[in-house]
């Protein structure tokens, strides 16, 4: 991991098109401003962790029979 120290209003580039700036520092909270093209996803790491955890949860489920859902043509197919 590359660690860089920045002061308020300073910024960092990640690649050619992503710029991250320190917008505000209040107590132990740092507000980051992120400029990135729409094709680059920016999200909190908690989202990543939540998906990982949900995947693990889903992998453990052991349905003996899958649910029957309404709204389908009820037939043998």
């Amino acid at each position: 991991m590359l660690v860089l120290a920045r002061k308020l209003n300073e910024s960092i580039f990640v690649g050619d098109s992503v710029e991250i700036s320190i917008v505000e520092i209040k107590g132990d909270q740092v507000k980051l401003g992120i400029k990135a093209p729409a094709s680059v996803k920016v999200y909190r790491s908690e989202v990543y962790t939540a998906i990982q955890e949900e995947n693990r949860h889903a992998a453990r489920s052991n349905p003996v029979k899958l649910p029957q859902l309404p709204g389908l043509f009820k037939g043998d197919s």
Partner: protein, 147 residues
């Protein structure tokens, strides 16, 4: 080809059902070969790991209960899946099915994306706040007016 599966035991599949996930799936990055299987109960499918017979996910097509679902693909999604026609990309949500199946939930924040022409797949990450990791399928179906 024959494969060992969690839901069906040993079965015969067509190699066209095999999907390559170069990055695996979140939490299961080492599993890079998967088979997409029909289930005995539409609209569900199974995504079966080819490296571990006991690892398989139940999938559902999100449009079934959320017709407004429209995940967008990031540059990284396209780098893995390939750019092709929009129709080439299939989207599925991983379903978690607890003891009480009415509490079944689907993950719309981390859709399984598959390019059915190139047989490549990836788990995407959606940043739109409408999409969560646990959507209660039965409740959302009910609010669609489907009985």
């Amino acid at each position: 080809m024959k494969i060992e599966t969690k839901p069906f035991g040993l079965i015969e599949i067509d190699e066209r059902q095999v999907m390559s996930f170069p990055q695996g799936i979140l939490g299961f990055e080492q599993h890079q070969q998967w088979a997409l299987l029909d289930s005995t109960q539409p609209p569900f499918y199974w995504l079966q790991s080819l490296s571990d017979p006991s690892l398989a996910f139940v999938l559902i097509s999100p449009s079934y209960f959320r017709p407004d679902y429209d995940p967008d693909l990031s540059a990284e999604d396209r780098a893995v899946l390939g750019t092709g026609e929009v129709d080439d990309i299939l989207q599925f949500a991983i379903v978690t099915i607890p003891e009480d199946q009415n509490n079944m939930t689907a993950n719309l924040q981390g859709p399984i994306l598959i390019n059915r022409k190139l047989h490549r797949g990836k788990q995407g990450i959606q940043t739109d706040p409408r999409w969560k990791v646990r959507h209660r399928v039965v409740d959302e179906l009910a609010s669609l007016g489907v009985r």
